[in-house]
Amino acid sequence: MEPMVKLAACGIIAVILSVQLKNRSREMSFLISLAACTVILFTGLVMFSPLADFMNRLSKAAQIDHATLGVLKHVCAVMVLTNMVSSFCRDAGENSVGQAIEFCGSLAAAGCALPLLDAVLENISGLLGG
Protein backbone atom coordinates (compact mmCIF):
# COMPACT_ATOMS: atom_id res chain seq x y z
CA MET A 1 0.00 0.00 0.00
CA GLU A 2 2.73 2.46 1.08
CA PRO A 3 4.88 2.18 -2.11
CA MET A 4 1.73 2.70 -4.21
CA VAL A 5 0.88 5.90 -2.29
CA LYS A 6 4.45 7.14 -2.91
CA LEU A 7 4.17 6.24 -6.59
CA ALA A 8 0.81 8.01 -6.89
CA ALA A 9 2.25 11.14 -5.24
CA CYS A 10 5.31 11.00 -7.52
CA GLY A 11 3.07 10.63 -10.57
CA ILE A 12 0.81 13.57 -9.62
CA ILE A 13 3.81 15.88 -8.85
CA ALA A 14 5.48 14.91 -12.14
CA VAL A 15 2.30 15.60 -14.12
CA ILE A 16 1.77 19.01 -12.44
CA LEU A 17 5.39 20.01 -13.10
CA SER A 18 5.27 18.75 -16.67
CA VAL A 19 2.03 20.63 -17.43
CA GLN A 20 3.44 23.81 -15.84
CA LEU A 21 6.64 23.60 -17.90
CA LYS A 22 5.01 22.56 -21.17
CA ASN A 23 4.45 26.11 -22.42
CA ARG A 24 7.86 27.43 -21.25
CA SER A 25 10.16 24.54 -22.14
CA ARG A 26 8.87 21.43 -23.90
CA GLU A 27 12.24 19.69 -23.47
CA MET A 28 12.19 20.09 -19.68
CA SER A 29 8.59 18.95 -19.54
CA PHE A 30 9.45 15.82 -21.53
CA LEU A 31 12.54 15.10 -19.40
CA ILE A 32 10.47 15.39 -16.22
CA SER A 33 7.87 12.96 -17.50
CA LEU A 34 10.64 10.58 -18.67
CA ALA A 35 12.31 10.71 -15.26
CA ALA A 36 8.98 10.15 -13.51
CA CYS A 37 8.23 7.16 -15.76
CA THR A 38 11.64 5.63 -15.07
CA VAL A 39 11.25 6.05 -11.29
CA ILE A 40 7.71 4.63 -11.38
CA LEU A 41 8.79 1.72 -13.58
CA PHE A 42 11.71 0.71 -11.33
CA THR A 43 9.58 1.00 -8.18
CA GLY A 44 6.93 -1.00 -10.01
CA LEU A 45 9.49 -3.71 -10.72
CA VAL A 46 10.14 -3.97 -6.98
CA MET A 47 6.39 -4.31 -6.45
CA PHE A 48 6.31 -6.98 -9.11
CA SER A 49 8.83 -9.15 -7.20
CA PRO A 50 6.24 -11.02 -5.02
CA LEU A 51 4.33 -11.96 -8.18
CA ALA A 52 7.60 -12.94 -9.87
CA ASP A 53 8.48 -15.12 -6.85
CA PHE A 54 5.08 -16.78 -7.03
CA MET A 55 5.49 -17.44 -10.74
CA ASN A 56 8.98 -18.86 -10.16
CA ARG A 57 7.60 -21.22 -7.52
CA LEU A 58 4.78 -22.15 -9.90
CA SER A 59 7.21 -22.83 -12.74
CA LYS A 60 9.38 -25.02 -10.47
CA ALA A 61 6.35 -26.94 -9.19
CA ALA A 62 5.00 -27.48 -12.71
CA GLN A 63 8.48 -28.31 -14.06
CA ILE A 64 7.93 -25.79 -16.81
CA ASP A 65 9.85 -26.34 -20.00
CA HIS A 66 11.60 -23.00 -20.46
CA ALA A 67 12.32 -23.65 -24.13
CA THR A 68 8.60 -23.28 -24.85
CA LEU A 69 7.35 -21.00 -22.11
CA GLY A 70 10.44 -18.78 -22.24
CA VAL A 71 9.24 -17.60 -25.64
CA LEU A 72 6.15 -16.06 -24.02
CA LYS A 73 8.45 -14.26 -21.54
CA HIS A 74 10.54 -12.80 -24.35
CA VAL A 75 7.53 -11.78 -26.43
CA CYS A 76 5.90 -10.09 -23.42
CA ALA A 77 9.13 -8.28 -22.50
CA VAL A 78 9.67 -7.05 -26.08
CA MET A 79 6.07 -5.91 -26.47
CA VAL A 80 5.93 -4.11 -23.09
CA LEU A 81 9.20 -2.29 -23.88
CA THR A 82 7.92 -1.42 -27.36
CA ASN A 83 4.67 -0.11 -25.99
CA MET A 84 6.38 2.12 -23.41
CA VAL A 85 8.98 3.56 -25.75
CA SER A 86 6.44 4.26 -28.48
CA SER A 87 4.24 6.01 -25.87
CA PHE A 88 7.22 8.20 -24.87
CA CYS A 89 7.81 9.07 -28.50
CA ARG A 90 4.17 9.97 -29.06
CA ASP A 91 4.16 12.10 -25.88
CA ALA A 92 7.17 13.95 -27.28
CA GLY A 93 5.21 14.54 -30.46
CA GLU A 94 7.32 12.13 -32.53
CA ASN A 95 4.58 9.93 -33.89
CA SER A 96 6.61 8.58 -36.80
CA VAL A 97 9.42 7.45 -34.49
CA GLY A 98 6.82 5.83 -32.23
CA GLN A 99 5.33 4.01 -35.18
CA ALA A 100 8.75 2.81 -36.35
CA ILE A 101 9.49 1.51 -32.85
CA GLU A 102 6.16 -0.34 -32.82
CA PHE A 103 6.92 -1.87 -36.20
CA CYS A 104 10.38 -2.98 -35.09
CA GLY A 105 8.96 -4.28 -31.81
CA SER A 106 6.42 -6.38 -33.67
CA LEU A 107 9.17 -7.80 -35.91
CA ALA A 108 11.35 -8.56 -32.89
CA ALA A 109 8.40 -10.26 -31.13
CA ALA A 110 7.63 -12.28 -34.25
CA GLY A 111 11.31 -13.32 -34.35
CA CYS A 112 11.12 -14.39 -30.70
CA ALA A 113 7.90 -16.30 -31.36
CA LEU A 114 9.26 -18.28 -34.33
CA PRO A 115 10.29 -21.35 -32.26
CA LEU A 116 6.80 -21.25 -30.71
CA LEU A 117 5.15 -21.13 -34.14
CA ASP A 118 7.34 -24.05 -35.23
CA ALA A 119 6.24 -26.07 -32.21
CA VAL A 120 2.57 -25.12 -32.78
CA LEU A 121 2.71 -26.20 -36.42
CA GLU A 122 4.42 -29.46 -35.44
CA ASN A 123 1.69 -30.13 -32.85
CA ILE A 124 -1.05 -29.29 -35.36
CA SER A 125 0.38 -31.71 -37.91
CA GLY A 126 0.70 -34.32 -35.15
CA LEU A 127 -2.92 -33.79 -34.09
CA LEU A 128 -4.49 -33.71 -37.54
CA GLY A 129 -2.12 -36.22 -39.11
CA GLY A 130 -2.28 -38.84 -36.36
Partner: protein
Protein backbone atom coordinates in the same frame (compact mmCIF):
# COMPACT_ATOMS: atom_id res chain seq x y z
CA UNK B 1 -39.49 -79.65 6.99
CA UNK B 2 -41.05 -82.02 4.47
CA UNK B 3 -41.56 -79.13 2.05
CA UNK B 4 -37.90 -78.09 2.41
CA UNK B 5 -36.79 -81.70 1.90
CA UNK B 6 -38.89 -81.85 -1.25
CA UNK B 7 -37.51 -78.53 -2.51
CA UNK B 8 -33.79 -79.50 -2.12
CA UNK B 9 -33.56 -81.73 -5.22
CA UNK B 10 -35.38 -79.05 -7.21
CA UNK B 11 -32.91 -76.39 -6.13
CA UNK B 12 -29.96 -78.67 -6.97
CA UNK B 13 -31.53 -79.42 -10.33
CA UNK B 14 -32.08 -75.74 -10.99
CA UNK B 15 -28.45 -74.87 -10.13
CA UNK B 16 -27.12 -77.69 -12.26
CA UNK B 17 -29.38 -76.57 -15.07
CA UNK B 18 -28.12 -72.97 -14.76
CA UNK B 19 -24.47 -74.04 -14.97
CA UNK B 20 -25.31 -76.27 -17.93
CA UNK B 21 -27.03 -73.39 -19.71
CA UNK B 22 -24.12 -71.06 -18.88
CA UNK B 23 -21.68 -73.57 -20.39
CA UNK B 24 -23.86 -73.95 -23.49
CA UNK B 25 -23.93 -70.18 -24.01
CA UNK B 26 -20.14 -70.01 -23.53
CA UNK B 27 -20.39 -67.33 -20.86
CA UNK B 28 -16.71 -67.90 -19.99
CA UNK B 29 -15.79 -66.00 -23.18
CA UNK B 30 -17.30 -62.87 -21.64
CA UNK B 31 -14.60 -62.57 -18.96
CA UNK B 32 -11.90 -63.42 -21.51
CA UNK B 33 -13.04 -60.67 -23.85
CA UNK B 34 -12.46 -58.01 -21.19
CA UNK B 35 -9.08 -56.21 -21.25
CA UNK B 36 -6.69 -57.09 -18.38
CA UNK B 37 -7.37 -53.86 -16.44
CA UNK B 38 -11.13 -54.34 -16.61
CA UNK B 39 -10.81 -58.02 -15.61
CA UNK B 40 -8.95 -56.94 -12.46
CA UNK B 41 -11.71 -54.46 -11.66
CA UNK B 42 -14.56 -56.95 -12.15
CA UNK B 43 -12.75 -59.48 -9.92
CA UNK B 44 -14.27 -62.92 -9.34
CA UNK B 45 -17.83 -62.26 -10.48
CA UNK B 46 -19.57 -65.58 -11.04
CA UNK B 47 -22.29 -65.85 -13.66
CA UNK B 48 -23.80 -68.95 -12.12
CA UNK B 49 -24.10 -67.56 -8.59
CA UNK B 50 -24.66 -63.95 -9.59
CA UNK B 51 -24.33 -60.95 -7.28
CA UNK B 52 -25.94 -57.65 -6.41
CA UNK B 53 -25.39 -54.97 -9.05
CA UNK B 54 -25.15 -52.04 -6.61
CA UNK B 55 -22.45 -53.64 -4.45
CA UNK B 56 -20.35 -54.66 -7.47
CA UNK B 57 -20.76 -51.21 -8.99
CA UNK B 58 -19.44 -49.52 -5.85
CA UNK B 59 -16.63 -52.08 -5.55
CA UNK B 60 -15.49 -51.41 -9.15
CA UNK B 61 -15.54 -47.64 -8.64
CA UNK B 62 -13.57 -48.00 -5.37
CA UNK B 63 -10.99 -50.29 -6.98
CA UNK B 64 -10.61 -47.88 -9.91
CA UNK B 65 -10.19 -44.84 -7.67
CA UNK B 66 -7.85 -46.41 -5.10
CA UNK B 67 -5.90 -48.96 -7.10
CA UNK B 68 -5.01 -47.01 -10.24
CA UNK B 69 -3.27 -43.80 -11.14
CA UNK B 70 -5.85 -41.40 -12.56
CA UNK B 71 -3.26 -38.91 -13.79
CA UNK B 72 -4.07 -36.46 -11.00
CA UNK B 73 -0.45 -35.25 -10.71
CA UNK B 74 -0.14 -34.71 -14.47
CA UNK B 75 -3.47 -32.82 -14.51
CA UNK B 76 -2.36 -30.56 -11.63
CA UNK B 77 1.01 -29.98 -13.31
CA UNK B 78 -0.71 -28.94 -16.54
CA UNK B 79 -3.07 -26.74 -14.49
CA UNK B 80 -0.07 -24.98 -12.95
CA UNK B 81 1.48 -24.43 -16.38
CA UNK B 82 -1.78 -22.96 -17.64
CA UNK B 83 -2.01 -20.69 -14.58
CA UNK B 84 1.56 -19.54 -15.23
CA UNK B 85 0.75 -18.62 -18.82
CA UNK B 86 -2.49 -16.89 -17.79
CA UNK B 87 -0.68 -14.85 -15.11
CA UNK B 88 2.15 -13.90 -17.43
CA UNK B 89 -0.14 -12.89 -20.25
CA UNK B 90 -2.34 -10.96 -17.77
CA UNK B 91 0.74 -8.93 -16.72
CA UNK B 92 1.57 -8.39 -20.39
CA UNK B 93 -2.00 -7.30 -21.23
CA UNK B 94 -2.01 -4.90 -18.25
CA UNK B 95 0.82 -2.79 -19.70
CA UNK B 96 0.06 -3.04 -23.41
CA UNK B 97 -2.77 -2.22 -25.74
CA UNK B 98 -3.79 -2.51 -29.38
CA UNK B 99 -1.42 -4.43 -31.67
CA UNK B 100 1.06 -5.18 -28.89
CA UNK B 101 -1.67 -6.86 -26.80
CA UNK B 102 -2.60 -8.84 -29.92
CA UNK B 103 0.96 -10.17 -30.27
CA UNK B 104 0.98 -11.20 -26.60
CA UNK B 105 -2.37 -12.99 -26.99
CA UNK B 106 -1.01 -14.89 -30.06
CA UNK B 107 2.06 -15.98 -28.07
CA UNK B 108 -0.07 -16.94 -25.04
CA UNK B 109 -2.54 -18.96 -27.12
CA UNK B 110 0.36 -20.68 -28.94
CA UNK B 111 1.98 -21.61 -25.64
CA UNK B 112 -1.32 -22.90 -24.23
CA UNK B 113 -1.90 -24.91 -27.41
CA UNK B 114 1.47 -26.64 -26.96
CA UNK B 115 0.74 -27.33 -23.28
CA UNK B 116 -2.76 -28.72 -23.84
CA UNK B 117 -2.51 -30.46 -27.23
CA UNK B 118 -0.12 -33.25 -26.20
CA UNK B 119 -2.23 -34.09 -23.13
CA UNK B 120 -5.40 -33.95 -25.19
CA UNK B 121 -3.93 -36.21 -27.84
CA UNK B 122 -3.23 -38.88 -25.22
CA UNK B 123 -6.77 -38.46 -23.84
CA UNK B 124 -8.21 -38.95 -27.32
CA UNK B 125 -6.11 -42.12 -27.78
CA UNK B 126 -7.32 -43.34 -24.37
CA UNK B 127 -10.95 -42.72 -25.37
CA UNK B 128 -10.49 -44.48 -28.72
CA UNK B 129 -8.88 -47.48 -27.04
CA UNK B 130 -11.73 -47.65 -24.49
CA UNK B 131 -14.35 -47.52 -27.25
CA UNK B 132 -12.55 -50.29 -29.14
CA UNK B 133 -12.30 -52.43 -25.98
CA UNK B 134 -16.00 -51.89 -25.42
CA UNK B 135 -16.80 -52.94 -28.99
CA UNK B 136 -14.75 -56.14 -28.57
CA UNK B 137 -16.49 -56.86 -25.25
CA UNK B 138 -19.93 -56.21 -26.75
CA UNK B 139 -19.12 -58.62 -29.61
CA UNK B 140 -18.91 -61.36 -26.97
CA UNK B 141 -21.62 -60.02 -24.68
CA UNK B 142 -24.45 -59.33 -27.09
CA UNK B 143 -24.58 -62.81 -28.74
CA UNK B 144 -24.62 -64.43 -25.27
CA UNK B 145 -27.38 -62.08 -24.11
CA UNK B 146 -29.35 -62.68 -27.28
CA UNK B 147 -29.01 -66.48 -26.88
CA UNK B 148 -30.01 -66.30 -23.22
CA UNK B 149 -32.96 -64.08 -24.10
CA UNK B 150 -34.00 -66.43 -26.90
CA UNK B 151 -33.80 -69.38 -24.48
CA UNK B 152 -35.99 -67.47 -22.02
CA UNK B 153 -38.80 -67.29 -24.58
CA UNK B 154 -38.22 -64.13 -26.60
CA UNK B 155 -36.46 -65.29 -29.78
CA UNK B 156 -37.82 -62.62 -32.12
CA UNK B 157 -37.16 -59.69 -29.77
CA UNK B 158 -33.68 -60.92 -28.88
CA UNK B 159 -32.69 -61.32 -32.53
CA UNK B 160 -34.02 -57.87 -33.41
CA UNK B 161 -32.38 -56.19 -30.42
CA UNK B 162 -29.09 -57.98 -31.07
CA UNK B 163 -29.09 -56.75 -34.66
CA UNK B 164 -29.91 -53.16 -33.65
CA UNK B 165 -27.38 -53.05 -30.78
CA UNK B 166 -24.54 -54.51 -32.83
CA UNK B 167 -25.23 -52.31 -35.83
CA UNK B 168 -25.48 -49.12 -33.78
CA UNK B 169 -22.42 -49.79 -31.59
CA UNK B 170 -20.21 -50.80 -34.54
CA UNK B 171 -21.58 -47.82 -36.46
CA UNK B 172 -20.78 -45.42 -33.64
CA UNK B 173 -17.23 -46.76 -33.15
CA UNK B 174 -16.59 -46.55 -36.90
CA UNK B 175 -18.10 -43.06 -37.03
CA UNK B 176 -16.00 -42.08 -34.03
CA UNK B 177 -12.73 -43.27 -35.58
CA UNK B 178 -13.46 -41.96 -39.05
CA UNK B 179 -15.21 -38.67 -38.34
CA UNK B 180 -15.79 -37.61 -34.74
CA UNK B 181 -12.22 -37.91 -33.43
CA UNK B 182 -10.68 -36.04 -36.42
CA UNK B 183 -13.39 -33.39 -35.97
CA UNK B 184 -12.66 -33.15 -32.24
CA UNK B 185 -8.97 -32.63 -33.01
CA UNK B 186 -9.85 -30.09 -35.70
CA UNK B 187 -12.04 -28.29 -33.15
CA UNK B 188 -9.01 -27.71 -30.92
CA UNK B 189 -6.95 -26.38 -33.83
CA UNK B 190 -9.81 -24.12 -34.97
CA UNK B 191 -10.23 -22.86 -31.39
CA UNK B 192 -6.54 -21.92 -31.26
CA UNK B 193 -6.71 -20.26 -34.68
CA UNK B 194 -9.85 -18.34 -33.71
CA UNK B 195 -8.35 -17.09 -30.43
CA UNK B 196 -4.95 -16.22 -31.91
CA UNK B 197 -5.89 -14.72 -35.26
CA UNK B 198 -9.42 -13.45 -34.59
CA UNK B 199 -10.68 -14.33 -38.08
CA UNK B 200 -14.45 -14.78 -38.42
CA UNK B 201 -14.09 -17.81 -40.73
CA UNK B 202 -12.34 -19.85 -38.02
CA UNK B 203 -14.99 -18.92 -35.49
CA UNK B 204 -17.79 -19.99 -37.86
CA UNK B 205 -16.02 -23.25 -38.72
CA UNK B 206 -15.45 -23.98 -35.04
CA UNK B 207 -19.14 -23.40 -34.23
CA UNK B 208 -20.17 -25.61 -37.15
CA UNK B 209 -17.89 -28.44 -35.95
CA UNK B 210 -19.28 -28.09 -32.39
CA UNK B 211 -22.87 -28.21 -33.63
CA UNK B 212 -22.12 -31.18 -35.90
CA UNK B 213 -20.50 -33.25 -33.13
CA UNK B 214 -23.34 -32.48 -30.70
CA UNK B 215 -26.02 -33.25 -33.28
CA UNK B 216 -24.35 -36.53 -34.35
CA UNK B 217 -24.08 -37.77 -30.77
CA UNK B 218 -27.64 -36.73 -29.90
CA UNK B 219 -29.10 -38.26 -33.05
CA UNK B 220 -27.25 -41.55 -32.64
CA UNK B 221 -28.27 -41.76 -28.97
CA UNK B 222 -31.94 -40.91 -29.60
CA UNK B 223 -32.08 -43.11 -32.68
CA UNK B 224 -30.51 -46.06 -30.88
CA UNK B 225 -32.72 -45.78 -27.78
CA UNK B 226 -35.91 -45.30 -29.75
CA UNK B 227 -35.11 -48.07 -32.23
CA UNK B 228 -34.11 -50.52 -29.49
CA UNK B 229 -37.12 -49.79 -27.30
CA UNK B 230 -39.59 -50.02 -30.16
CA UNK B 231 -38.01 -53.23 -31.50
CA UNK B 232 -37.91 -54.74 -28.03
CA UNK B 233 -41.48 -53.79 -27.15
CA UNK B 234 -43.03 -54.80 -30.49
CA UNK B 235 -41.13 -58.08 -30.90
CA UNK B 236 -41.38 -58.76 -27.16
CA UNK B 237 -45.17 -58.52 -27.28
CA UNK B 238 -45.25 -60.90 -30.26
CA UNK B 239 -43.00 -63.36 -28.37
CA UNK B 240 -45.14 -63.12 -25.23
CA UNK B 241 -48.25 -63.93 -27.29
CA UNK B 242 -46.45 -66.88 -28.99
CA UNK B 243 -45.31 -68.32 -25.62
CA UNK B 244 -48.81 -67.97 -24.15
CA UNK B 245 -50.34 -69.58 -27.24
CA UNK B 246 -47.83 -72.48 -27.13
CA UNK B 247 -48.48 -73.10 -23.41
CA UNK B 248 -52.22 -72.99 -23.98
CA UNK B 249 -51.93 -75.39 -26.91
CA UNK B 250 -49.76 -77.86 -24.92
CA UNK B 251 -52.03 -77.84 -21.85
CA UNK B 252 -55.22 -78.17 -23.89
CA UNK B 253 -54.07 -80.57 -26.65
CA UNK B 254 -52.06 -83.06 -24.52
CA UNK B 255 -54.54 -84.78 -22.18
CA UNK B 256 -53.87 -85.16 -18.42
CA UNK B 257 -50.13 -84.27 -18.39
CA UNK B 258 -50.50 -81.26 -20.66
CA UNK B 259 -50.54 -78.72 -17.84
CA UNK B 260 -47.57 -80.46 -16.15
CA UNK B 261 -45.50 -80.25 -19.37
CA UNK B 262 -46.52 -76.64 -19.70
CA UNK B 263 -45.36 -75.91 -16.12
CA UNK B 264 -42.07 -77.78 -16.72
CA UNK B 265 -41.37 -75.67 -19.79
CA UNK B 266 -42.03 -72.62 -17.60
CA UNK B 267 -39.26 -73.84 -15.21
CA UNK B 268 -36.77 -74.05 -18.09
CA UNK B 269 -37.74 -70.56 -19.21
CA UNK B 270 -37.30 -69.23 -15.65
CA UNK B 271 -33.80 -70.79 -15.50
CA UNK B 272 -32.86 -69.06 -18.75
CA UNK B 273 -34.26 -65.78 -17.41
CA UNK B 274 -32.08 -66.06 -14.28
CA UNK B 275 -29.06 -66.62 -16.53
CA UNK B 276 -30.09 -63.69 -18.73
CA UNK B 277 -30.26 -61.51 -15.65
CA UNK B 278 -26.77 -62.62 -14.52
CA UNK B 279 -25.33 -62.03 -18.00
CA UNK B 280 -27.06 -58.64 -18.17
CA UNK B 281 -25.62 -57.56 -14.83
CA UNK B 282 -22.20 -58.87 -15.84
CA UNK B 283 -22.50 -56.98 -19.13
CA UNK B 284 -23.21 -53.70 -17.39
CA UNK B 285 -20.42 -54.26 -14.87
CA UNK B 286 -18.03 -55.26 -17.67
CA UNK B 287 -18.86 -52.11 -19.64
CA UNK B 288 -18.41 -50.07 -16.48
CA UNK B 289 -15.03 -51.68 -15.76
CA UNK B 290 -13.86 -50.98 -19.32
CA UNK B 291 -14.95 -47.34 -19.20
CA UNK B 292 -14.39 -46.31 -15.59
CA UNK B 293 -10.64 -45.59 -15.82
CA UNK B 294 -10.74 -43.59 -19.09
CA UNK B 295 -13.87 -41.81 -17.81
CA UNK B 296 -12.21 -40.80 -14.53
CA UNK B 297 -8.98 -39.74 -16.25
CA UNK B 298 -10.75 -37.64 -18.88
CA UNK B 299 -13.22 -36.32 -16.30
CA UNK B 300 -10.35 -35.17 -14.11
CA UNK B 301 -8.83 -33.31 -17.06
CA UNK B 302 -12.22 -31.78 -17.78
CA UNK B 303 -12.51 -30.50 -14.21
CA UNK B 304 -8.99 -29.10 -14.37
CA UNK B 305 -9.81 -27.27 -17.61
CA UNK B 306 -13.03 -25.92 -16.07
CA UNK B 307 -11.04 -24.49 -13.12
CA UNK B 308 -8.48 -23.01 -15.54
CA UNK B 309 -11.26 -21.28 -17.50
CA UNK B 310 -12.67 -19.76 -14.29
CA UNK B 311 -9.22 -18.55 -13.22
CA UNK B 312 -8.43 -17.05 -16.62
CA UNK B 313 -11.78 -15.26 -16.62
CA UNK B 314 -10.85 -13.70 -13.27
CA UNK B 315 -7.73 -12.21 -14.88
CA UNK B 316 -9.76 -10.80 -17.79
CA UNK B 317 -7.60 -12.33 -20.50
CA UNK B 318 -10.36 -12.57 -23.09
CA UNK B 319 -8.64 -14.49 -25.91
CA UNK B 320 -6.82 -16.81 -23.53
CA UNK B 321 -10.10 -17.62 -21.72
CA UNK B 322 -11.83 -18.22 -25.04
CA UNK B 323 -9.15 -20.72 -26.08
CA UNK B 324 -9.23 -22.48 -22.71
CA UNK B 325 -13.03 -22.73 -23.01
CA UNK B 326 -12.52 -24.40 -26.41
CA UNK B 327 -10.04 -26.87 -24.90
CA UNK B 328 -12.60 -27.61 -22.18
CA UNK B 329 -15.25 -28.25 -24.85
CA UNK B 330 -12.85 -30.55 -26.73
CA UNK B 331 -12.26 -32.63 -23.59
CA UNK B 332 -16.03 -32.67 -23.01
CA UNK B 333 -16.56 -34.03 -26.55
CA UNK B 334 -14.11 -36.90 -25.94
CA UNK B 335 -15.93 -37.65 -22.68
CA UNK B 336 -19.30 -37.50 -24.44
CA UNK B 337 -18.21 -39.91 -27.19
CA UNK B 338 -17.01 -42.61 -24.78
CA UNK B 339 -20.07 -42.09 -22.54
CA UNK B 340 -22.23 -42.57 -25.62
CA UNK B 341 -20.50 -45.90 -26.40
CA UNK B 342 -20.93 -46.98 -22.76
CA UNK B 343 -24.60 -45.96 -22.76
CA UNK B 344 -25.19 -48.04 -25.90
CA UNK B 345 -24.02 -51.16 -24.07
CA UNK B 346 -25.90 -50.22 -20.87
CA UNK B 347 -29.15 -49.52 -22.70
CA UNK B 348 -28.80 -52.76 -24.70
CA UNK B 349 -28.35 -54.76 -21.48
CA UNK B 350 -31.28 -53.00 -19.80
CA UNK B 351 -33.52 -53.59 -22.84
CA UNK B 352 -32.60 -57.29 -22.96
CA UNK B 353 -33.32 -57.55 -19.23
CA UNK B 354 -36.55 -55.55 -19.52
CA UNK B 355 -37.89 -57.65 -22.38
CA UNK B 356 -36.52 -60.92 -21.00
CA UNK B 357 -37.89 -60.51 -17.48
CA UNK B 358 -41.28 -58.77 -17.77
Amino acid sequence: MIVVMCMLPLITFAEGRLEEQAAMLQTQTLTDSLPANARDLVGDFSLSTGTEFGQEFISIVKKAVHGHSLGFDAAVKDGKKILWVVLFSAVGFAVSEGPTARVISVAAVGTLFIITSSGLNSLVSLGMAAAEDLRVFSQSLLPVMASAAAASGIPAASAAMYAVSTAFLSGLVTLMNALLIPLIRAHLVLGAADAALDIALFSSLKKFVEAFIKMTLKLSMFGFTAFLLLTGVVSGSADAISVKAAKLAISSVVPVVGSMISDASETVLVGAKVLLQSVGIFGMLGALSVLILPFLKIGLRYLMMKISVFLSMAFQTEKVSSFLADVEKTVAFVLAVICCCGLFVFVSCVCFLRVGTP
